[in-house]
């Protein structure tokens, strides 16, 4: 953890841009039923980032295993592979100033090609794939780039409305450089008609914010006769410049 991948760069010490909480989903979104009893009713207490929040853990490549970014084989028996449409997911992690975020840990998880998660509490009739676990992780490079290989997950029914189905999606967890940047989100796939019916997607009010979670098919990044590719960029909070607060650290 202490062997930072960004040690050659100027450390950043500014507080983060204020979160736009009208762009993010609200806590209370009753059409997503579980949110009703799990949403705070009192206002959040605003706190301009102190040292306790503008700092955060940074992870080194030493935590990564060789197959951590290959969900097709990282749970498979030797010589076997997961079943399903083979895809590459790639993109960049940027901050709100458009700068690449290097050394960002990304963790992702998903259902298998039939929409079945490998989890004790999950009872969907679609079978498990004995060669698919559903978890992976990677760390962005110097320019904020990442990629991983997986199978495209299937849609999945869930007990919300009587006939609600999640669109095909991959969950993402992101660390930036400050704990206040911590983010969990979901990636959707271009053209999926379930996106606009989903109560969880619709916890977000702004169509542009939903488009920002929808990965584009990129035929120029596919591997012919092997895998298609989806491009998915993610944006973490930007950091305020410390131009005049502290000239020594100014950027």
């Amino acid at each position: 953890m202490s062997d930072s991948q960004i040690s050659n760069r100027k450390p950043e010490t500014g507080a983060f841009f204020q979160r736009d909480r009208e762009w993010h989903p609200q806590a209370y979104t009753p059409w997503y039923k579980t949110s009703v009893l799990r949403s705070p009713q009192k206002a959040l207490l605003s706190l301009d980032g102190s040292l306790s929040e503008i700092t955060g853990p940074v992870f080194g490549h030493n935590i990564l295993g060789e197959l951590d970014n290959d969900l097709i084989t990282n749970f498979a028996k030797p010589g076997e592979m997961a079943i399903g449409p083979r895809i590459i997911v790639y993109g960049r992690v940027l901050d709100e100033r458009g700068k690449g975020v290097p050394g960002a840990l990304l963790e992702f998880w998903q259902a298998n090609a039939g929409g079945r998660y490998r989890h004790r509490k999950e009872g969907y009739v679609a079978p498990l794939d004995p060669n698919f676990g559903g978890c992976g992780r990677t760390i962005t490079d110097e320019d904020g780039n990442y990629s991983f290989r997986t199978i495209q997950p299937g849609p999945y029914p869930w007990p919300n409305g009587v006939n609600d189905w999640r669109p095909a999606h991959i969950h993402f967890s992101l660390f930036g450089h400050g704990f206040a940047q911590r983010l969990i989100t979901q990636m959707y796939f271009e053209g999926d008609p379930l996106i606009w019916k989903c109560p969880i997607v619709k916890t977000i009010n702004d169509k542009a914010a939903i488009d920002g979670l929808t990965a584009a098919l990129d035929m120029n990044a596919t591997i012919p006769m092997d895998s298609r590719a989806y491009k998915f960029d993610m944006v973490l909070r930007g950091r305020r410049s410390t131009l005049f607060e502290n000239r020594m650290d100014g950027n």
Partner: protein, 204 residues
């Protein structure tokens, strides 16, 4: 018209869902053999400086029912008040302390548990000392955007009394929701998502 600022919008948050363990604590989810150990399981080793403590608690919904599918992360300073982060400019933190931990709530009783150390005091922006505290981040099914809160220590009455963040709480009766009582070397910190005992959550 004016020049565009060319700033991007942060990616919108979505719930972590009920199967968050698959991605963040796969061994806990019984997905063995992918990672040798779940990240954030151990924060200390036998060389870590500071007083060893245990933090236990639950996350409760608006009916008082514990969440058995939540995931908690904590972030804190070391015993000298330094963070193990590249953005820490005041000195080097204890290399034997990660400062960061992750724990899912138990699938049966909803309890989380961290073995850590009591943090030192960290200055606020204006130089005043904050009381020792630990930053919590809670995600779960039904939580659309991760919730940040802080745990303060029940046996730090004097420091808590001068803490600049606690001082900002207008409704003084709510301060107690951030203070964990001590029993032996264990602090109990229950997080109430909603209702009368609702924990203070921060927009940071």
């Amino acid at each position: 018209m004016v020049q565009p600022l060319n700033q991007l919008k942060e990616s919108a948050s979505q719930t972590a869902g009920p199967y968050v363990h698959i991605g963040l604590t796969p061994n806990f989810a019984e997905i063995g053999g992918v990672y040798s150990e779940d990240l954030g399981t151990s924060m200390v080793n036998d060389k870590t400086k500071g007083e060893r403590i245990t933090i236990v608690g639950r996350v409760l919904d608006g009916t008082g029912t514990p969440l058995r599918d939540a995931l908690i992360e904590i972030w804190q300073a070391d015993a000298d008040g330094l963070h193990n982060s590249p953005s820490e400019m005041r000195g080097s933190a204890d290399a034997n302390f990660t400062g960061w931990g992750r724990c899912p709530t138990d699938m049966d009783n909803g309890e989380f548990r961290f073995e850590t150390i009591k943090p030192g005091r960290v200055p606020f922006k204006d130089g005043r000392k904050q009381a020792p505290h630990i930053t919590f981040w809670v995600v779960a099914r039904g939580i659309n955007i991760g919730l940040h809160t802080r745990m303060y220590f029940g046996d730090e009455e004097k420091a808590n009394g001068e803490d600049p963040v606690l001082a900002r709480v207008e409704h003084r009766v709510r301060v107690a929701t951030l203070i964990a009582p001590r029993e032996g070397s264990t602090y109990r910190f229950d997080i109430h998502l909603q209702g009368e005992k609702e924990t203070i959550f921060f927009d940071i």
